[in-house]
Amino acid sequence: MNCPKARILMSAAVDGELSRKEEEGFLLHLTKCLECKGEFEEAKKTKMIIKERIIQFKAPQTLVHSIMQLTSVSAIEHEDTLFFE
């Protein structure tokens, strides 16, 4: 495997999305190419940073309530139309 091919597989390697065969080839390339190895480590770190640093907000309570109401109201409406059929 050469560097351009390894770069194509880089993200999939980070995310565990490579096939077994691809992974073998990729890892073999890393043992020979320090540049790609460095880039791979950096990419893994970047993923981790995003995962850890991006805050997940809680949906506002008002939104939670309206979603709950939304589903139950449409269910009741449906029941009503059935009775008047």
Binding site: K45, I50, R53, F57, K58, P60, L63, I67, L70
Partner: protein, 252 residues
Amino acid sequence: MIDLLIFSKVHKSLKIYCFKLIILPARALVGKTMLFEPGRFQLMDKPDATRHIKTRTKKESLTKEERQKQLEFQNEAVVHLNSLYNYALHLTMNPDDAEDLVQETYLKAYRFFNSFERGTNCKAWLFKILKNNYINRFRKNSKEPGKVDYDLIKDFYHSIKDIRSDTSEAESDYFHSLLHEEVYQALHSLPEEFREVIQLCDIEGFTYEEIANMVESPIGTVRSRLYRGRKLLREQLEEYAKKYGFNTDKDQ
């Protein structure tokens, strides 16, 4: 004369009364008894009767079905509310727009919940609906959401509780010195096509196949966008690190 009139009236009403009392039940009885008689009547009448019974049970079971659907929807779909809200926030960069978008998504999802393929990823299905809603709402109507207001985001970050735990404070790596806002800003400085795949992959944890389906591009495109996106993001983060006096080369 009057007597006659009264008599005829009484007679008339009596006739009607008798008709109601005798003829109608008799007709009904005939209709019913025919069902139990052999021959063509049975064949003709039976489907009517079963249809009648079926509609009754259908009414009852539909209500039950509806309740079941509701319960299933809560368990399958409503549990992803926080993720959906965050995705909407990332897309719109505006809390009000995000709320509207999520509401619209759930309304649509509930209406079409029967078409959701059971056993597949419901979160991915919801994200796809939300994305489509977003495109219809903001892109087609050229009603672009407001420009990114970093001060607003900053306030927003400070006003809302962090639901993730900080596990990496001990690490001294320059990356780990970065604040939430900086990573957020760096992510939002990326072109949307890169930001989107990073978000779906790294924050929401979707598979490449799911992402490819959501962004309507081949898996190969998702791969290369992630590769380039992460590279761009890393460069951006290194800029921040340098700005705050971290030697990024030393950490290599």
